[in-house]
């Protein structure tokens, strides 16, 4: 029983939960979105700042469980400073890992601390928690790209 549980709650996840990276809402930003997980009520408000095709900043404010909080923290580590295209491809890799029902072997070179979420994929009820901020980020990024830069 606790092996499964330890697989879910990797040390890396608990570390990010206790000390989230890049947390808090910051200026400047081109788009801001608010996403909720309707079943449990977890919420995230997330902003993106893009410039010259690069993710300059991702800032967020959120309430939720350890999985959703840690995953927001890992997301920001992975995408800030990356070209938008590369960040989108990391997003896709993380999504595939989460939707793989535990059959996908995570690539540490791409996902870094994100590989700790491999165990979450075996808990269908928690996949939505892990994806909350990632879906918010994709939404915000798409909006920022289509709406162009607003002051």
């Amino acid at each position: 029983m606790s092996a499964e549980l330890d697989n879910l709650y990797q040390e890396i996840i608990l570390d990010h939960y206790k000390n989230p990276h890049h947390k808090g809402l910051r200026d400047p930003f081109e788009s801001e979105v608010h996403h909720v997980n309707p079943t449990c009520g977890d919420e995230v408000t997330l902003r993106v700042h893009l410039a010259e095709g690069v993710v300059q900043d991702v800032s967020y404010d959120s309430v939720g469980c350890s999985i959703s909080q840690a995953s927001a923290s890992v997301l920001t580590d992975l995408v800030i400073g990356k070209p938008v295209d590369e960040a989108m491809s990391i997003h896709q890799t993380f999504l595939e890992l989460m939707q793989g029902k535990g059959t996908v072997e995570p690539d540490e070179d791409v996902l870094e601390d994100g590989i700790a979420f491999a165990g979450v994929a075996k808990f269908p009820a928690r996949v939505k928690c892990a994806l909350l901020s990632w879906m918010a980020w994709k939404d915000a990024t798409t909006q920022a790209q289509t709406e162009g830069v607003t002051p």
Partner: protein, 411 residues
């Protein structure tokens, strides 16, 4: 322990699922009965028997099976009428669940600009959103009772809220989040005094309190089958017969008519007026059996059991450091659902660790977001007991919570 059902061991044997072993060889500790109750063998067998031996459509089949099926379905209506002490069997309408019963009322009760509907801040979403929609459609105003810090209805401004323009006063008998038991007869009297219709959501009351619609004196009352040991897919709307027959139909279709021409139709009287189409036949029969089962054990005995377990649980929970229970703290004034917060651990994570030990609880907002917002919390963990819950299961929960704290290294 005083108050427990005397034959608890025997009662537990009625519920086959309680023997279930979960992953890792953990026995099931089911503390999520406010979400849905488990089903006794007799309900399962009755439904299987109907499907195996008596299945046919009701009312319209001119053969032996049709007669048997109709008799069983209408027999279930009699049982539910008895369970509610309804003056007439025609007042019992089968719906899909409590949500559909509430929506039926919110759709058919005539509202207009200048009218108001009064609800409370502790309602389940089904008794909020259905009235929000009705008010948006009709231009009526939606009002609500707030809550006190200890999780009771704040009746301080009742005279301003419920006034001569109030058309409907709709409220829950027992809160699914806070456990609070509301003063139903007092609220019904307030509605009556201004000529408003009273609507009681008894979804959490019917499993654990004697529900006597004549003693309460309300106009309408709803509950849902799956929380009273019955199956899913079946709920009940009870209403005073003359009121039901004044309401316009809800769904149009087969069995709800008197006669149909291409130009117009006339409608059957209650209950068929509100049972368009083929109803959930076997589910209704299962529900009839379930309320018989509860009646056999006795609602008073079940209520005493719930109070004893709830008092024991409240005491056990208080032994966990960082614990905050929401809602009334005395077991006498509350039902068997206890929502709580544990400092430093999110409800999702609590439920996950408990689940790994076989303890099933609910985490989230329990379809009562406004009540959570009232107490400044986004979500809670909820344990809920029922007639088959043992003190040992409460011990397993409390131990599990101590373990959760050490697992997440809090304190």
């Amino acid at each position: 322990m005083e108050g427990l059902l005397p034959d608890l061991d025997v009662i537990r044997k009625d519920f086959p699922i309680l023997e279930r072993m979960l992953a890792g060889g953990q026995p099931l500790v089911y503390l999520d009965s406010a979400n849905t109750s488990q089903k006794p063998q007799v309900v399962i067998d009755t439904m299987v028997d109907h499907l195996e031996r008596h299945n046919a459509n009701i009312a319209r089949a001119m053969h032996q099976l049709g007669a048997e099926s109709t008799e069983a379905y209408e027999g279930a209506r009699d049982k539910v009428a008895g369970f509610l002490n309804a003056p007439s069997r025609n007042e019992v309408i089968f719906t899909k669940n409590a949500t559909e019963a509430l929506n039926l009322l919110a759709r058919t009760i005539d509202l207009g600009p200048g009218d108001n509907v009064v609800i409370t801040e502790m309602e389940h979403h089904s008794n909020i959103v259905s009235w929000q929609l009705a008010c948006e459609r009709s231009g009526a105003e939606l009002r609500w009772f707030g809550l006190t810090d200890d999780g009771r209805l704040d009746l301080g401004n009742a005279d301003q809220l419920v006034d001569e323009h109030t058309k409907v006063l709709a409220f829950t008998w027992v809160s699914n989040m806070l456990g609070t038991i509301n003063p139903v007869t007092d609220l019904v009297a307030r509605a009556k005094a201004v000529g408003a219709l009273s609507v009681i959501d008894a979804s959490q009351a019917a499993p654990q309190l004697t529900v006597d619609v004549q003693a309460v004196g309300c106009d309408f009352l709803v509950f849902t089958g799956h929380k009273v040991c019955g199956p899913t897919g079946i709920g009940v709307l009870w209403g005073r017969e003359e009121l039901l027959n004044e309401l316009p139909p809800f769904h149009g279709g087969g069995e709800m008519i008197e006669t149909v021409t291409m130009a117009r139709s006339t409608y059957a009287k209650a209950p068929h007026r509100f049972e368009a189409g083929t109803p959930p036949i076997v589910e209704a029969i299962g529900l009839g059996c379930a309320v018989d089962y509860l009646g056999h054990i006795g609602l008073d005995a079940i209520h005493r059991h719930e109070q004893a377990i709830t008092a024991y649980a409240l005491e056990g929970l208080q032994s966990v450091p960082g614990m905050t229970v929401l809602g009334p703290l005395d077991a006498a004034g509350r039902g068997g659902a206890i929502s709580f917060e544990l400092d430093g651990v999110h409800p999702h994570d609590i439920a996950q660790v408990l689940d790994s030990r076989g303890v099933a609880v609910r985490a989230g907002h329990h379809c009562a977001k406004p009540a959570h917002a009232r107490f400044g919390v986004q979500s809670t963990t909820r344990m809920s007991s029922y007639l088959y819950t043992t003190p040992a299961e409460i011990d397993a929960l409390v131990e599990g919570l101590h373990h959760t704290r050490s697992y997440f290294k809090v304190g």
